[in-house]
């Protein structure tokens, strides 16, 4: 009788563990996080590049589908197209104040990263700068 009870408990533990493992695996998904989520270049007179860390906080690989920007003056490139679970990639954002000729003043743009994160298919990195006067034409 006692042996049967022990066996039943052991089988129950095994079943519960298996079910938990199946649930854990099934719920694995990529989760994108940005650090920082906005980039301020401040006052600038020449081309500057800053980096953002793209972190995959999920338990499945994060596939980067596309990187685009709101303006030809702002370009971005990411170091890897698949970020492993709990891994990071580097997104380099370059702002070229001369791209629009000699126009000076505050500028507001954005870089967009599209991934297979099911909850956030596109994330935005806000890009700000103040273009100084006196740029070469």
């Amino acid at each position: 009788m006692r042996r049967t009870s022990v066996l039943a408990v052991a089988v129950g533990i095994l079943l519960a563990g298996g079910a938990a493992r199946v649930l854990w695996t099934a719920s694995a998904r990529p989760v994108i996080r940005l650090d920082p989520s906005a980039v301020d270049f401040g006052p600038l007179a020449g081309r500057v590049t800053k980096a953002v860390v793209v972190r995959n906080a999920g338990r499945a690989p994060l596939r980067v589908l596309a990187v685009s920007s709101s303006c030809g003056c702002t370009t971005a490139a990411i170091t890897m197209s698949v970020v492993p679970a709990r891994g990071t990639a580097r997104l380099e954002i370059t702002f070229d104040p001369a791209a629009h000729g000699s126009e000076a003043g505050p500028a507001r743009h954005a870089v967009y990263v599209r991934t297979d994160d099911p909850r956030t298919p596109e994330v935005e990195i806000e890009v700000r700068a103040v273009v100084l006067k006196g740029l070469p034409p």
């Binding site: 596309a66 709101s70 303006c71 030809g72 001369a98 629009h100 507001r108 743009h109 967009y112 596109e122």
Partner: protein, 195 residues
């Protein structure tokens, strides 16, 4: 009496024939007449070259080609416009890598990404070409003022592949390689031209 009835019958036949000809003439008009496609432009108002391009080139060109109402949506000032753009692009099955910094939807069939050359837009809206594709996306994201002279463009339509052509190559080259309705050939593979 019989002669009168005969004349009446001939007259009725003429009226019927006239009506039939009128119906044929009405239905033979441009296939998209009366259904000018509405245009939505998603852009960044802070992109200094985009607004003049819109005002001076794209909008006048589209108007001259007979499109419907043109609506502009700044997606930097209004973030919901960006969400709307992404949802719309996803719903239409547009490959994410074909996202430009400015997107123009001409109805739901033509999607222009960035600054697409005028001749390509003219070709896509020409009645002779409009039947060749169900939907088409053209991307040309570079601007000469940014120190990068545009040299090529990228095009994709359902049933075809993503192809890159030099700017001098007409978009009709790509369209000619697309499978047509009732065409049972395997999916066409347009030549990928190096710029």
């Amino acid at each position: 009496m019989n002669r009168e009835r005969g004349a009446l019958s001939v007259g009725l036949r003429h009226v019927c024939a006239g009506l039939a000809i009128l119906l044929v003439l009405l239905s033979a008009g441009p296939s998209h007449a009366g259904a000018a496609p509405p245009v939505t432009v998603y852009f960044n108002g802070s992109c200094h070259d985009c607004v003049p391009y819109l005002d001076q080139e794209l909008v006048p060109l589209l108007r001259s080609l007979g499109v419907g109402e043109i609506v502009r949506r700044d997606y930097i000032l209004e973030r919901r416009n960006r969400s709307e753009l992404v949802e719309r692009s996803t719903a239409l099955g547009i490959p994410p890598q074909l996202q430009g910094h400015m997107t123009t939807f001409v109805g739901d069939r033509i999607v222009l990404q960035g600054h697409v050359p005028a001749q390509i837009i003219r070709d896509l809206l020409a009645p002779a070409q409009a039947t060749r594709y169900m939907r088409i996306v053209v991307l040309q994201d570079k601007m000469p003022s940014h120190g990068e002279a545009p040299r090529d463009y990228t095009v994709w339509a359902p049933g075809g592949v993503i192809a890159v052509y030099p700017l001098g190559e007409p978009v009709t080259t790509y369209l000619a390689g697309l499978p047509q309705p009732g065409d049972h050939r395997s999916v066409s593979r347009p030549r990928r031209c190096s710029p």
